[in-house]
């Protein structure tokens, strides 16, 4: 588990890295530890999965991916894990999860996100998922995002 220094490192980097030639040194100066320790702690958090990756988060819309669909599927609970793995393996699926149904309003238990530059391309991706699910699919829908209302990511409080 991350310790207090890791936590301070997370708070210092959650809004982004300093854009200076030596960003790890800049963080180290702020935290009062050596740069090598910042690097080692981030490497350890990458290895343990606390850090998923270090890099840029693109705005889908800005890259032309204006058709972001949350595809949702009602599949047999006994088959959902095998099917979820197969859907997650499709190259255009960025996230794939099993989630609870909320009956009667919401019968879907498998969620897969697709991203495309046209509605046609997105709908073609939806059909490719449907082909993987075959007769195990009892119901489906796709919810396109039409506005980003907020996007800030994780915010731990300082303390």
């Amino acid at each position: 588990m991350p310790d207090e220094i890791d936590r301070r490192l997370i708070v210092a980097t959650q809004a982004g890295l300093p854009l200076v030639p030596r960003p790890w040194q800049a963080l180290a100066d702020r935290l009062g530890i050596p740069a090598a320790e910042v690097q080692a702690r981030l490497a350890a958090m990458l290895a343990s999965g606390v850090v998923r990756r270090i890099g840029a988060v693109p705005n889908h819309y800005a890259l032309g991916y204006r058709f972001n669909g949350m595809t949702v599927w009602d599949v047999d609970d006994a088959r959902v894990d095998a099917l979820g793995m197969a859907v997650g393996a499709l190259p255009f699926v960025s996230h794939c999860y099993r989630r609870p149904r909320r009956l009667p309003e919401w019968p879907y238990n498998l969620f897969a996100m697709v991203h495309a530059r046209s509605r046609e391309a997105a709908l073609e991706q939806v059909e490719r998922i449907a082909a993987v699910l075959g007769s195990d699919c009892r119901g489906r829908d796709v919810l396109f995002s039409s506005r980003i209302l907020k996007k800030t990511g994780l915010r731990l409080t300082d303390g």
Binding site: P58, L63, R98, S145, L149
Partner: protein
């Protein structure tokens, strides 16, 4: 927050930089210089381009992406069915909570989908209660039961 305009005039170097920086930013002393060497750009040019891409919101952030569950925290997807004539009001109420990390309008009876990110799993229930009290609407929570795949990498072309 509206999507940025369609034509953001990304040049070939911007596109190469975005593709190269979606993961694996080096943990060496001068990481921007290392990235620049692999792309044939100077360290200063990498930093200036990144700054401009962040300012123009082509990139929403640059740095480590944390998996909050590993810190004992929780991420939960949740949705609301918001009456159209209350949409802006409810969006403002929901967005005002620091626990709301992302919020999207989607075209469906469930028209508002947001992610709650809290440091403890108890924080999720508290945030849901706050939203229900503030809006008078029922929050439908969809905690993930299993993750099959997560790898958000977009080709900048």
């Amino acid at each position: 927050m509206r999507p940025p305009p369609d034509d953001l005039a990304l040049d070939a170097a911007d596109r190469a930089l975005i593709n190269a920086l979606q993961g694996g930013f080096p943990l060496c002393d001068e990481p921007f210089r290392a990235v620049g060497e692999s792309l044939g750009l100077s360290e200063g040019e990498i930093i200036e381009r990144l700054r401009a891409l962040l300012e123009r919101r082509v990139l929403t952030r640059f740095g480590p992406l944390y998996q909050i569950e590993k810190l004992g925290g929780a991420f939960v997807l949740a949705a609301l069915k918001v009456p159209e004539d209350r949409f802006e009001e409810v969006a403002a109420l929901v967005n005002a909570l620091p626990e709301v990390a992302h919020n999207y309008r989607r075209e469906h009876a469930f028209n508002m989908w947001f992610v709650l990110a809290t440091e403890t799993s108890a924080g999720i229930a508290a945030a849901i209660e706050k939203i229900e009290a503030a809006t008078g609407l029922t929050v439908f929570a969809f905690p993930k039961e299993r993750e099959y795949f997560v790898e958000l990498k977009l080709d900048a072309g």
